[in-house]
């Protein structure tokens, strides 16, 4: 058996990777441990969120599937940070845990060039440091030209509850026991990580009277640029808010030693995610907080499990009972699934190129939690990029590498390969230096061209994008030449909006720069026949013009440093004056440019100065 590309793992990374390869006309095989677990959502029942929501838009702009699938599966959707400015707004949807995987499987099955096989991969076939195929647990060999590993949390997965450790994956699935050892034999450095998930409780056992209700937005949203909303606002399912209290905290503190992570188990190596802490961590680290928020989120329309977001723990079952029942509104809650922590193997992502190809094995790509990230969206976007780049590699083309000022995806991958990880990596808006450029609204303007160039965006969608650009420019032009005259009526209207009256005529373009003026205000005088989407985009571009210029100037500085390339064959041992920690890090990452080197933690500006002096002077001398 031989395929062009094999993808191992059918989670969010694996789905995007295999779809991208197959859509780019490569014979693709997706191998999964359980076909019913494709695109499973083992943790929170939501897609998107701060920064993550923008990643979903980016995936969609590039021609990936997550946005479309989330639109099909969402049961509530809202725009976060609506009041904090356009650069940090992001969509988050509650996604139905039955519909989401079902729809994704449907899409996979209907995609040409894509086959799905249920099996466990145990080893890789490698010759001359080049990937040749995989060996299944039954000994069967399947050959390929490129391989993408998206194994999620399944590598040597251990479920931890209280003082127990069980070798199994999420939902009691079979873990992969041999693959990570075999990766180690091939020369990969392996790291143990840990993550956790909270309890699920029965809907009809919750006293909703005592909770605060949280609705979705009353305006329509879609993740995908190509979808029209196909839901009704009034059909959206609300979430509910409850709080921990002094009693909850006392129970946690009194039983801390029973938690797997706090002494219940003494053989834990895995490092948990800092930005998604367990409730034990929160109570210990923020001891002065009297309460913590917990969101009750519905998992599906088809069953009654309610997810307690914010309550992840590795306490034994009896303590979990006490903890849940201490919460107002959950006094009689019935726990359907207990919370657990999961420990698993990942590879150090500094062993990857920015294309997500591994440095030591040619045509081997990795994506998702195996690279040390956390979260569905982080996984999916890596899967997409790995799929695109594995295909491009086979086509003999340059890889698609997104820059930090181009996409959150670029930020994520650059962080992984340059900085490495200590704990599971979660994307945060604060990780993006140029986030004013990386907005929710302009993901298509940033990335659709790339999607078209790599062949994942068809002519029709591409034309729609070109039309959008044209409309934006046209509308901006019209606003520049249309002037509002300072009549008494106009000035009275402006004053009523707490806006300064006019002395001379003003272009609508300049008027829109005023914080308090919006499109509907100027449309009192002039009508513009454009889609709301176009108006919104133009409004953002006008209102934040100054800031956008600043961000672009900053990005340009970064690009200048990115263009200062570090020679491939540089020998860091020869640069005797850099600090030893910096030398070790540079050796490990082998950055492509000064720009990338600056971002490596442990490499100081002084080390960079020495490095650049060395490249400018001594390295060149040695070459002569």
């Amino acid at each position: 058996m031989k395929y062009e590309i094999i993808v191992v793992g059918g989670g969010h990374a694996g789905c995007e990777a295999s779809l991208a390869c197959a859509r780019k006309n490569h014979q693709t095989l997706l191998i999964t441990g359980n076909i019913n677990n494709i695109a499973d959502m083992p943790c929170n029942p939501s897609i998107g969120g701060s920064a993550k929501g923008i990643v979903v838009r980016e995936i969609d702009a590039l021609g990936g599937e997550m946005g479309k699938n989330a639109d099909k599966a969402q049961i509530q959707i809202k725009m976060l940070n609506y009041k904090k400015g356009p650069a940090v707004q992001a969509l988050r949807a509650q996604a139905d845990k039955i519909t989401y995987p079902k729809e994704m499987l449907k899409t996979l099955k209907s995609t040409k060039n894509l086959e799905i096989k249920e099996a466990m991969v145990e080893d890789l076939i490698v010759s001359d440091n080049k990937i040749k195929g995989v060996i299944l647990s039954n000994g069967e060999k399947i050959y390929c030209d490129a391989l993408i590993l998206t194994t999620g949390t399944y590598l040597k997965a251990d479920i931890l509850v209280g003082n127990t450790r069980r070798r199994e994956g999420p939902h009691g699935e079979k873990p992969s026991n041999y693959l990570s050892d075999n990766l180690k034999k091939l020369g990969f450095k392996i790291k143990r990580l840990k993550t956790g998930t909270p309890q699920r409780i029965a809907k009809d056992s919750i006293d909703f009277e005592k909770t605060k209700i949280e609705y979705g937005d009353d305006t329509y949203h879609t993740f995908s640029f190509d979808d029209k909303p196909n839901y009704k606002i009034e059909d959206q399912i609300p979430c509910h808010l409850v709080y921990t209290n002094a009693l909850t905290h006392k129970i946690i503190r009194d039983n801390l030693s029973k938690s797997s992570m706090y002494g219940g188990l003494d053989d834990i190596e895995g490092v948990g995610p800092r930005y998604c802490p367990s409730i034990e961590d929160k109570v210990v680290r923020f001891a002065d907080k009297e309460k913590h928020q917990l969101f009750l989120e519905p998992e599906s329309l088809y069953y009654d499990d309610i997810y307690i977001q914010g309550f992840s723990t590795s306490m034994p079952h009896d303590i979990q009972e006490e903890m849940v029942h201490s919460i107002v509104g959950l006094e009689h809650a019935k726990i359907l699934k207990y919370a657990y922590a999961i420990e698993y193997d990942a590879i150090y992502p500094t062993q990857l190129k920015r294309s997500l190809e591994t440095k030591i094995i040619e045509n081997l790509f990795t994506a998702g939690q195996i690279n040390g990230t956390s979260g569905y969206e982080e996984a999916a976007c890596q899967g997409l990029i790995a799929g695109i780049n594995a295909s491009l590699k086979l086509e003999g083309k340059e890889p698609l590498i997104l820059k930090r000022n181009e996409a959150y995806i670029g930020v994520l991958i650059d962080d992984l390969v340059s900085k490495g990880i200590k704990d599971p990596y979660r994307l945060l808006t604060s990780r993006a230096e140029y986030r004013l450029l990386l907005r929710h609204d302009n993901a298509d303007l940033r990335l659709r061209e790339h999607g078209y160039q790599v062949g994942l965006i068809d002519e029709e969608r591409y034309q729609k994008y070109l039309d959008k650009i044209k409309d934006i420019e046209k509308l901006k032009e019209e606003l520049k030449i249309t002037k509002l005259k300072p009549t008494e009526e106009v000035n009275n209207y402006l004053i009523s909006l707490s806006s300064a009256p006019l002395k001379d005529g003003i272009s609508l373009y300049d008027l829109l720069k005023r914080t308090e003026i919006n499109f509907e205000n100027i449309e009192k005088y002039f009508k513009f026949d454009y889609d709301d989407e176009i108006k919104e985009e133009v409004l953002i571009q006008i209102k934040y013009e100054g800031y956008i210029k600043k961000a672009n100037a900053e990005a340009l500085k970064m690009i200048k440093l990115e263009n200062q390339k570090i020679p491939d064959d540089i020998d860091y041992q020869k640069i005797r004056n850099i600090a030893s920690e910096a030398r070790q890090k540079l050796e490990e990452v082998r950055p492509e440019s000064i720009g990338q080197a600056i971002r490596i933690s442990g490499v100081n500006p002084t080390d960079i100065s020495i490095l650049s002096v060395y490249i400018k002077k001594e390295y060149r001398n040695e070459q002569r």
């Binding site: 928020q293 800031y547 900053e554 002084t606 650049s612």
Partner: protein, 451 residues
């Protein structure tokens, strides 16, 4: 940095001692080759060794050689310092011998560059080495040393930490929008904190301006009509304070006639070259030229004759200096008073007689008072003394002011954050914590040969 560098690190003048500094892995063995005395390869680190520099058997100079082994040296390399006693010609010959035996001439600023590149000093410290070399008074040296020891870096670091706190708070609120248990940092709070930071930057800048006086000195112009005693005053001040240098060309096109050390601050007497030659300055170059001099000076000493009536030109020029640091000096109080200035409402008036040498101390005290020189103590000199740092701090202040010029209710927090982040980076560039390629080249090209 495989080479061993050597240069004369004292100014090459007929002074009694010149020091040649050698740094690099062969510093000690090369020096040893031309040294007659103890075997320098075997002496302890940080010792001073007496002996001769020899060319074959010929004695070139009688010297003291300090041997300092890496890493506890200025460059973190092996260093020797040869104290030569024989004047210019032997010193040059010692240097040539070092070159013949394997040393290479140090590029401008190369010793400091090595210290920086070897991680011995940070960027701000590297700059202050420059200031130390150029220091002409003890007080100037004290500020430079202060900067070298990292005190100023710490001060900027503190400011940066405060900015970072604001940033961290904003970012947490953006990343965890629904967690109401994290402090919601409202724009109002951000503005309050920035106002606080602004005050601190302003204080440092104000202090730095005074600190700058130590470095550049106070440009002082002596103005007055002919025969009022300008040259006598100049000579009196110079003689008594012993002029440090004469006829040196300043950084501007001004001719500095002389320099006076007043409480550790240099008074540069500018553009007074004509005074001694013609005695006719106002007539010759006219009122307009005097006005130009007034514009350029930091301090104007305006001389009036007690024995004559005030002229139209005097009144015109005195009007020009009102808004600048100025002292009106009434000379010749030993003669009869014919000058009537009571109705002019003048301040900073000092009465002197150069002939009888009275009132000169009052004049000096007035200058000290005008520039707060007695308040500048070198014990707590937490300010920046070089133009680059000050200009960067000023740019930081501009950023803060730009943010604060907005109405805090109108700006969006994520826009604010862009400016606050650039503030953080600007502060970082003062202490070299923000990498800047061009800056590094620029700074090193400033360093003089030898250090």
């Amino acid at each position: 940095m495989d080479t061993t560098i050597a240069a004369i690190s004292t100014s090459l003048s007929p002074s009694s001692i010149s020091i040649i500094r050698v740094s690099g892995k062969d510093a000690i063995s090369i020096t040893n080759k031309i040294f007659k005395g103890k075997d320098l390869d075997k002496v302890k680190s940080h010792t001073i060794n007496y002996g001769y520099i020899v060319d074959n058997d010929e004695i070139v100079d009688e010297v003291l050689v300090s041997v300092m082994r890496a890493p506890k040296t200025f460059t973190m390399e092996d260093v020797t310092e040869i104290n030569c006693h024989g004047g210019i010609i032997p010193t040059k010959r010692v240097l040539e011998l070092l070159y013949l035996n394997g040393c290479v001439p140090a590029e401008p600023g190369e010793f400091t560059k090595r210290a920086f590149l070897n991680g011995r000093i940070d960027l701000l410290e590297a700059e202050s080495v420059m200031d130390l070399i150029e220091a002409k008074t003890d007080e100037m040296g004290a500020i430079a040393i202060n900067q070298l020891s990292g005190q100023v870096s710490n001060m900027i670091k503190e400011l940066r930490n405060e900015v970072m706190d604001v940033l961290a708070n904003i970012e947490v609120n953006i990343d965890y929008p629904e967690y109401d248990d994290i402090e919601q940092i409202t724009n109002k709070k951000v503005f309050d904190k920035l106002n606080n930071i602004k005050d601190k930057i302003e204080i440092i800048l104000k202090n730095s301006e005074n600190g700058q006086l130590y470095k550049t000195g106070i440009k002082t112009a002596i103005i007055g009509k002919p025969n009022v005693g300008k040259s006598s005053l100049l000579n009196n001040l110079l003689e008594e304070e012993k002029a440090i240098v004469t006829d040196i060309e300043g950084t501007t096109r001004d001719i500095v006639e002389g320099q006076i050390n007043l409480n550790g601050v240099i008074l540069n007497l500018i553009d007074t070259a004509g005074i001694r030659k013609t005695n006719d300055i106002i007539e010759e170059i006219g009122v307009n030229k005097s006005i130009k001099m007034i514009e350029e000076a930091d301090l104007i000493l305006y001389l009036l004759n007690n024995n004559e009536e005030i002229t139209e030109n005097d009144i015109k020029l005195i009007n020009e200096i009102k808004n600048k640091n100025h002292i009106i000096i009434i000379n010749k109080i030993d003669l009869e008073n014919k000058l009537n200035i009571d109705n002019l409402n003048l301040d900073n008036v000092i009465k002197i007689s150069i002939k009888e040498n009275t009132g000169i101390d009052d004049l000096k005290n007035k200058i000290i008072e005008l520039f707060n020189l007695n308040k500048i103590t070198n014990k707590d000199m937490k300010y920046l003394t070089n133009a680059r740092s000050i200009s960067l701090l000023r740019q930081s202040l501009d950023i803060v002011n730009e943010i604060l010029s907005n109405n805090y209710e109108d700006v969006l927090i994520d826009m604010l954050e862009i400016d606050i982040k650039s503030l953080w980076e600007k502060l970082g560039s003062i202490i070299g914590e923000t990498y800047d390629d061009e800056l590094i080249d620029q700074i090193f090209s400033r360093f003089c040969l030898g250090k």
